[in-house]
Amino acid sequence: MPPSAEAEGVAAIAARVAAGGKFEPWQEIPEVYAQEAARMMEFHMTSELIGSAHEYRWVARAPSLEAKLVMSAKTQDEVGHTLALIRVCEDLTGKSRRQYMEEILEGPPRFMNIFHYPWDDWADPAIASWLADGAEIKRQTTLLRSSYGPYARAMKKIVKEEGFHHQAGRYLVRRMVDGGPAQRQRAQRALDRWWPRILAMFGPSGSASRHGEVMLAFQLKLSSNEDLRQSFLSTFVQKIIQMGLEIPDDKLRFDEETGVWHYTEPDWDEFRSLLRGGSPYGEEVQRKLRNARRGSAWFLDAVWAA
């Protein structure tokens, strides 16, 4: 398609969704819209699955029966989110479950930055559940208004369950902070590690990519990266202070006049290299999922043969 025709197509789609129009899989969907929607939803779907692989390891390692149950429920929820989203993706792209599983497990690692870092201490899943899920709720709540009907509907279940994860995370961090100086220090160290990674989750501001602009025009994205980050800061800075933890950012301040939060920019080179090139830890998680799938194939074959 020549650039002018493509721009015309983009403008027509933008006008349709601006008037409140939605796209549904049983309708004619313009190719450029379908591609953008698939790219975003596949990224989200893969992130949910990789996230559950991180959490799964902590079901057995969590420090109490209660904490094990919390991690177990969260892991099941996240797999359920993958299932809800993979159905939406399959209906849009026509790819099969098998194709998707191969892409996720054998293909390049396309998932969120936070899943490229190891979760080696109990404080890692606790802080991630509280703050990374809290950050995701900010973004996903806007996606309830997505112009792609099936995705917006799937988001209802997902947003509701992320709320439980967020509350569970806050509870687990509270238990650590109240658990004596050593526990509190572990929670603080985890916050020091995770703070810049969580701020980076929303993506860089300012340098609005062409993709970003198109996604906003198509209402596949409902808020800019920076607006979401500001909203996260407005909610969570206060909550972290109330928790009795210190935010590891000496530039963090709220400008009363402009109503804008100032903060230390996360390492965007690191962010881009994780999203483009992956990481050793991300590969390890992919490999574990691959092996788990191979290891359980005999069982599933027997079940389906019965």
Binding site: L83, A84, R87, D301, A305
Partner: protein, 114 residues
């Protein structure tokens, strides 16, 4: 590698409907793939009834759903038949899918007739 889903071609998509409280309408909540309706009910329970209770659960093979492919004008035709409304009542009181411009005209007309 065998996938564990050799019979994947015999899987169908089932649309899931749930009634929350006794007496509530069944509302569409999502879909899942399953080999038969019985399995679909089990999968749907795991996927959609994770915390809150429900008073009923339906699964419907997607192939048994028939969707109207009419344009908006057809789907909206009922709202244009003003005589079906109780005379004297404002159009504002009833929910309507019609665009704002239509609603304005109707409200104006109502005011004139009142």
């Amino acid at each position: 590698m065998r996938s564990g889903r050799r019979e994947v071609d015999s899987y169908h998509v089932y649309e899931i409907f749930e009634s929350s409280e006794p007496g509530d309408a069944f509302v569409h909540v999502g879909d899942i793939e399953a080999p038969d309706p019985e399995a679909a009910l089990f999968f749907a329970k795991e996927q959609f009834l994770r915390r809150e209770p429900a008073s009923g659960l339906w699964v419907v093979d997607r192939r048994d759903i028939h969707a109207a492919e009419w344009p908006f004008e057809v789907l909206n035709s009922g709202s244009l038949k003003r005589y079906r409304r109780t005379p004297g009542r404002s159009g504002r009181a009833s929910p309507s899918a019609s665009p704002a411009s239509d609603r304005d005209e109707r409200d104006d007309a109502d005011e004139e007739s009142e």
